[in-house]
């Protein structure tokens, strides 16, 4: 009976320790992603040169951006617009943030309320967004960022 009990306890530990380590790891990754999002939020409000520098740091070159009016914007065009000043933000608040981590990939969703100009098009309102991140060279980079207006 005792050896069986010992084996059962060892099995439980063998399973529980990796799960707990994974949870801790995901929690660490989630904190990193939330910090990146907050840094990006603050930089977009500050405007250039911080905004363009943050985009260069945290977005991949092939990033796909779909703003709340449904246009498809390539990462290079998005960055060019930020540098030119045709993307500006007066206010931007996030709520209901959720982050799911899958190793080197992560999906964040949330609600954003704000006002500004996105690649020359004015916007204001409340949107549900998703952001997909990939970790490259230790940095969480955005590869997809989409907004959908929340119907009233």
């Amino acid at each position: 009976m005792k050896p069986r009990f010992v084996i059962a306890v060892l099995l439980v530990f063998a399973l529980a320790v990796p799960v707990s380590m994974l949870a801790q790891q995901n929690s660490k990754e989630e904190k990193e992603i939330r910090a990146v999002m907050e840094e990006m939020r603050q930089s977009v409000i500050k405007g250039n040169p911080e905004y363009a520098a943050t985009l260069e740091k945290y977005c991949t070159e092939d990033m796909v951006r779909i703003p709340g009016y449904g246009r498809l914007i390539a990462g290079t065009d998005y960055l060019a617009a930020a540098k030119k000043g045709t993307t500006t933000v007066e206010s931007l608040e996030y709520s209901d943030l959720k982050v799911q981590v899958y190793g080197k990939w992560a999906i964040a969703t949330g609600i954003e309320t704000g006002k500004g100009v996105q690649v020359g098009v004015p916007w204001t309102g409340t949107y549900r967004f998703s952001r997909v991140f990939v970790k490259r060279d230790g940095i969480w980079k955005t590869v997809l960022y989409q907004d959908t207006p929340i119907a009233q």
Binding site: I66, Y69, R71, Q100, V134, A151
Partner: protein, 156 residues
């Protein structure tokens, strides 16, 4: 001189072969993903049990779905809606599909011209969508799916 030429040739080959293999691999993955999307589109049109079976096969339980009204919809909610008959697509046509492959992950965007009922609410319009897939056990699983209405697009 000949030795230099041989080294340069070898280096070019060493770089070119993996690049060509990667391109072939990505092309195969893109075909698989486009086939999966078409299978999904047909299941959406057929509706009911076909759509439920498609969701069970291709969507993990923790998928993220943001519909065209900006609502987060869980897989369970969508399946319950299908069972209750509150979900029906009359039209679901795709265009401008673009696929980016990143190994076991893929990001796809496209345009949907759609008409139907989503969880009891009628919809009609033109939407830009994104789908994010993650390959698990040989199947491209849909982990994120979001729609955004295209402002000013001609509606049906």
């Amino acid at each position: 001189m000949k030795r230099h030429l041989a080294i340069v040739t070898l280096v070019i080959l060493a770089l070119a072969v993996p690049a060509s293999m990667l391109a072939q691999q990505n092309s195969k993955a893109e075909k698989e993903i486009r086939a999966t999307i078409e299978e999904m589109r047909q299941a959406i049109i057929k509706g009911g049990s076909e759509n439920i079976a498609m969701l069970e096969k291709y969507s993990p339980d923790d998928w993220v779905r943001i519909n065209g009204s900006g609502v987060l919809v869980s897989k369970a909610e969508l399946i319950n809606g299908l069972r209750a008959g509150a979900q029906k697509a009359e039209v679901c046509d795709y265009s401008d599909i673009k696929v980016n492959i990143y190994g076991k992950w893929a990001i796809v965007t496209g345009i949907e011209n759609g008409k139907g009922t989503y969880l009891g609410t009628p919809y009609t319009g033109v939407y830009r969508w994104s789908r994010v897939f993650m390959k698990q056990n040989g199947i491209w699983k849909l982990v994120l799916y979001q729609h955004t209405p295209i402002a000013g697009a001609a509606k049906q």
